[in-house]
């Protein structure tokens, strides 16, 4: 008995709506972010992640308003990511009611931003999002690199070394997404999850590829993750949070009741 593993539903939000691309074809509308967040809270989600995938500047105000509304209704931890580039962006989201912010591309462009953010706001609210893609061929020693721009642009950075560097600079948690698996529903990339989880002292959230409840179990048991993040399996009613928790418990993983 002890610290429970976490299940984190993720809301990808565009222009004030929860969306999710299904198999990379088209975007499906999954509802109003506040209603969706409330539903997951009632179901017993351990945390909520809100990813702002909005490209346009005008919609940022909508995002702040959404975060404020969720934070006024949902009393579990809320992480907000997408477009966090400056300490002012972080301040805005924390004031709106976010508990943590997730920094992705800005960390790759300027790693010291992570240090500056952690110094100013504390490591406990700085999550660094890592998008990793396998670059080794079959049969070679596995190696993953950091990619930006939704997995299209390589950076040449080794994912495990990068993860360690982010933690040294002050990241309090890592959100690890496998770009090979994201959207495939074939399960997490266990190799990279295990490699990074073993290499760092802070909690790791596994993301990318969940299609079944067994995948969630694998992320914790085989990948060594502290939390698992998923979107589409929950959004369209395929599985509920209580079903996922029951399945985890049945497999010997400690969950919050």
């Amino acid at each position: 008995m002890g610290l429970a593993k976490r299940i984190i539903p993720c809301l990808d939000v565009d222009a004030g709506r929860v969306v999710k691309g299904v198999n990379f074809v088209g975007i499906r509308d999954a509802g109003d972010p506040v209603e969706v967040a409330q539903r997951y809270n009632h179901q017993g989600a351990d945390e909520i992640t809100f990813l702002d995938i909005t490209a346009s500047h005008e919609d940022r105000a909508t995002t702040v308003e959404m975060v404020e509304r969720i934070a006024g209704e949902v009393f579990i931890p809320l992480t907000v990511g997408g477009g966090i580039r400056t300490c002012d962006d972080i301040r805005t989201m924390l004031n709106a009611g976010a508990d943590k912010v997730s920094i992705n591309t800005a960390a790759v462009h300027d790693p010291d931003f992570v240090y500056e953010a952690a110094e100013r706001f504390g490591s406990q609210c700085i999550v660094v999002a890592i998008d990793a893609k396998r670059v080794s061929a079959d049969g070679e020693t596995p190696r993953w690199e950091i990619f930006t721009h939704g997995g299209r642009r390589p950076t040449g950075l080794d994912a495990v070394e990068w993860a360690q560097k982010m933690v040294e600079l002050g990241a309090g948690e890592l959100l690890l997404t496998s770009m090979d698996r994201d959207g495939t529903r074939q399960g997490f990339d266990i190799g990279v999850t295990r490699a990074i989880s073993d290499a760092v002292s802070v909690p790791v959230i596994a993301s990318g590829g969940v299609g079944t409840l067994d995948h969630l179990v694998e992320g914790i048991k085989d990948g060594g993750a502290d939390a698992v993040l998923a979107a589409s399996i929950f959004h369209f009613g395929e599985y509920s949070i209580p079903e996922a928790k029951r399945h985890m418990t049945d497999n010997g993983i400690e969950m919050r009741r």
């Binding site: 610290l3 429970a4 351990d46 931890p77 009611g97 802070v202 060594g224």
Partner: protein, 213 residues
């Protein structure tokens, strides 16, 4: 009737204020104004980040003296949260050693970096997520909350007291038994975040708002 969340510049106080507003119709203010703090019926002392910075900011904003007086008087209920709990004890080993407010006995220690659980998995630091709180003594703030209920934690340091009279709740992490709820007289303090602990956390805040010590 006003609940004052003491704002000395450390951490995100909006979550605490929003959660309090959710459980009470009383006025909730986030303030560093001495008159408003004196005029409040209840106080919340939050805290986030490094303890030296928290104590330092309390001194820089000239709130330290008032907080010391309020603690000595014990006239109105006060709830310490996270580093707000740690500060109420004697001393912390963070930042090379920091003297705290000394309202209750006890030391603030760091979780060891090399801990494992019984299955051999590494216990990460910070201790982040939902963990069980074992209630050591009855207290009005535990009313309606189950024994061994989950609460949400984010911390690398924890309180350890050697005086059972101030110990109200503990949590196991790795080989550490952290004293996560402590209190004396009209003061109660928790390491976890009630404002982020869903139903159980809201219930604790509701109990605090109704507490008449």
């Amino acid at each position: 009737m006003t609940i004052a969340v003491i704002d000395y510049g450390m951490g995100n106080l909006h979550s605490v204020a929003k959660a309090l507003e959710h459980v009470t119709h009383e006025n909730v203010v986030i303030t560093r104004d001495a008159r408003r703090i004196h005029g409040a019926t209840r106080l919340v002392l939050p805290g986030q980040g490094a303890i030296r910075d928290c104590i330092g900011e309390l001194e820089r904003t000239e709130l330290r003296g008032m907080v010391d007086e309020l603690l000595a008087a014990q006239k109105k209920p006060l709830l310490g949260i996270c580093v707000g709990q740690q500060m109420l004890h004697e001393h912390s080993e963070e930042n090379g050693g920091v003297d705290c407010l000394g309202f209750m006995p006890g030391e603030v220690r760091r979780f060891p970096v090399d801990m494992s659980d019984e299955s051999g998995n590494r216990c990460k630091v910070p201790h982040m997520g939902w963990n069980l709180v074992h209630q050591h003594q009855k207290h009005p703030l535990w009313e309606g909350i189950d024994q061994n209920e989950h609460f949400y934690f984010v911390h690398s340091y924890y309180v350890e007291v050697d005086d059972d009279s101030v110990l109200f709740g503990a949590t196991d992490y790795g080989r550490v038994n952290a004293h996560v709820a402590t209190g004396r007289d009209a003061t109660f303090a928790v390491q976890f975040h009630p404002e982020k602990s869903s139903r159980a956390g809201l219930r604790l805040l509701e109990n605090f708002v109704q507490w008449m010590p």
